[in-house]
């Protein structure tokens, strides 16, 4: 009996699935080479149980952009010079915009318009990690919310989920717009979302984040929230601090001493 078109399609479909099975099985077992060391940390790396940052607004000098410039230089963040394609990992925004519910209109103008650094808050309970369909953004044991630029599909669900506007999308190829290339850190391609990573690559080398180091006024204090004697804890215990949109339960780890 001659096969019908339907039979042919059925057999073709089954063959296609059959041909695809070995590669899929192989892919699932890939990236397993011998010699992977158990997680051991070089002696000089900085470690923590929960990384956090305090912004001491009193020390922040208006007009200064050292933290922004340092971060964007170290991480090859492009400058598109237009708001639409803009990518930034850290930026300066007016305190009144950071804290719209706390900073009411009758606060002194100096406070309302004080530029403060905003960056990824590396939340304890990050909504961006919850929504990522590929786990390209994930949370490390030390609290840092990481981006895996190799896995990101650019769906921008994380950008919708972030309550703080911390994330930027590469809507275009960033390479031509990077001022001075830092060879020690990769760039990103168009099509992925990027954000501050608390300089985890510098922490691994025993260095503090670029913004913290660059700030001449020492307005940015970085450290382990769980370490009792740390500068960070000391600063936090020294007075009142607030976090952005803390009522949302995200547990942001950037604290502002206003």
């Amino acid at each position: 009996m001659t096969p019908t078109r339907r039979d042919f399609l059925r057999i073709a479909g089954a063959s296609a699935v059959g041909l695809l099975l070995p590669p899929w099985a192989r892919m699932a077992n890939s990236a397993q080479t011998a010699g992977m060391a158990p997680i051991s940390v070089p002696a000089k790396a900085l470690t923590a149980r929960r990384w956090a940052m305090v912004v001491d607004a009193a020390k922040c000098r208006p007009g200064c952009r050292d933290c922004v410039d340092a971060c964007h230089l170290v991480h090859n963040v492009p400058d598109f010079k237009n708001l639409k394609d803009d990518i930034h990992w850290i930026s300066l925004e007016k305190a009144g915009h950071l804290f719209p519910t706390e900073i009411h209109l009758r606060q002194p103008e100096a406070i309302r318009t004080l530029p403060l650094p905003v960056l990824c808050n590396h939340c304890e309970n990050p909504p961006c990690v919850r929504v990522c369909p590929t786990k390209a953004t994930f949370q490390r044991a030390d609290g840092i919310v990481m981006m895996d630029y190799h896995r990101c599909i650019g769906c921008r669900f994380c950008m919708a989920a972030c309550p703080y506007g911390s994330r930027s999308m590469n809507y275009r190829d960033p390479r031509p717009f990077i001022g001075k290339l830092n060879p020690d850190f990769p760039t990103r391609t168009r099509g992925v979302v990027e954000k501050c990573n608390f300089c985890e690559e510098r922490l691994a080398q025993g260095l503090l984040p670029a913004c913290v180091t660059a700030c001449k006024e020492k307005a940015l204090i970085f450290g382990d929230l769980e370490e009792k004697g740390s500068d960070l804890r000391h600063t936090l215990e020294g007075g009142f601090s607030i976090r952005r949109r803390s009522e949302l339960g995200t547990g942001p780890q950037v604290y502002y001493r206003l």
Partner: protein, 383 residues
């Protein structure tokens, strides 16, 4: 049965050729987008979802609306719908394919789309959306095709089709609930963070989908010999009326909670949506049109004398469809991002390439519907 789509009148082929041209144009611009990046669209750092996701959101509703034909017929033996459940299922197939295509063209790295399956993330609603949409697509392809083919052979459909069709009923509800959950679970976007998002989505789905179905039935009646029957069309129109009324009601209760509660952050979104904020009123202008269309269409559908007249019915259905396309499309998406988390108001204007790609995907969907309905008509008229 596929070969039936390859026979048709001159008008049929002119229509198909036109749709293919639009699809090709969309593909051309998509290749340009692949080359330049998503920056070729109007999206920005603040408004990171735009026209593509708006179309996806709206079309999931249209896809879900097949349930409005299937449920009365298969669960309640409403015989008038018996002839046209297949039309609903085929519409669902085309709509879901459009949804998947819109998500695909919206991705920054479409070459990595398999990562969603290679690295499953059950905490992500997008992961579940992909699963339920794919299953819904399969369900409708299989059931629609099998029932139509049984029709052609003149035999009752095989027994295994019925359970699949029954499953497609709660599944239709689920696809749109899951899509609503994409928005309704984001703590940072107050405009979307409302439990009524899923009910709103369902109500507007059951208004827009059947409205489109009515338009298709009217067209089929005019252009081919196929008549869905006055009872079927009028019942569908009543469903649209009830669903549209519910949808409007849901919007009104949202407005009540927002403006009686007087929380500034919440009010800002709705002010932007309907009136505009600080002079940014493009969305507000469109929403005014949407609101007017919704009310006029509702009235036209409620009054029996008007609903029963074909031209008025067509106008009402077009009005309902366009109104909800605006409200559930860009109205919903852009407003979620405005004001931004840092209180900024950014404008979003779709660019030419973006519109061309969007039109291309719609043309692709309409092409699929044309082919499906051509086959349907050929089978029903006994070719």
């Amino acid at each position: 049965m596929l070969e039936k789509a390859l026979t048709g009148s001159r008008g049929y082929w002119i229509w198909v050729a036109g749709l293919m041209a639009l699809t090709a144009l969309g593909l051309f611009f998509y290749l340009r987008q692949l080359d330049y990046g998503l920056g070729i669209t109007g999206m920005s750092r603040d408004i990171s979802w735009g026209l593509y996701i708006a179309q996806f959101t709206f079309l999931v509703g249209v896809a879900a609306s097949a349930v409005m034909l299937v449920l009365p017929y298969y669960l309640h033996d409403f015989k008038a719908f018996g002839k046209i459940t297949i039309l609903g299922e085929f519409l669902a197939v085309a709509a879901v394919i459009m949804c998947i295509t819109f998500v695909f063209v919206d991705l920054g790295r479409p070459d990595r789309v398999m990562n969603v399956m290679l690295h499953p993330s059950p905490s992500s609603i997008l992961f579940w959306d992909m699963i339920v949409l794919s299953c819904y697509l399969l369900l409708n392809i299989v059931t629609g095709w099998t029932v139509l083919e049984s029709d052609r052979m003149g035999v009752p459909p095989p027994r295994w089709v019925k359970p699949l069709i029954i499953v497609s009923i709660p599944w239709a509800i689920s696809i749109h609930t899951v899509t609503a959950f994409i928005y309704a679970g984001l703590p940072g976007r107050g405009f979307w963070l409302t439990a009524i998002m899923a009910p709103r989505f369902l109500a507007s789905a059951f208004a827009s989908g059947p409205a489109l179905l009515i338009l298709f039935c009217l067209l089929l009646r005019r252009l081919t010999g196929f008549d869905a029957g006055e009872k079927a069309i009028q019942t569908l129109a009543k469903i649209v009326a009830y669903a549209l009324a519910t949808s409007i009601f849901f919007v009104l209760v949202e407005i009540f909670t927002t403006f009686y509660g007087q929380i500034p952050g919440h009010m800002d979104h709705f002010r932007y949506l309907f009136r505009g904020l600080e002079g940014h009123n493009m969305i507000a202008n469109w929403m005014t049109v949407s609101a007017l269309l919704a009310c006029i269409s509702l009235v036209l559908l409620i009054v029996p004398r008007w609903r029963k007249g074909e031209p008025v019915l067509a106008v009402a259905c077009i009005g309902a469809f366009v109104s909800l396309w605006i409200e559930k499309g860009l109205g919903l998406i852009v407003t979620g991002f405005v004001p931004s988390p840092l209180e900024a108001i950014t404008d979003y204007l779709p660019t030419g390439p973006e519109i061309a790609i969007t039109v291309g995907v719609w043309a692709l969907g309409l092409l699929l519907i044309t082919f499906f309905y051509r086959i349907f008509v050929a089978v029903r008229s006994g070719d």
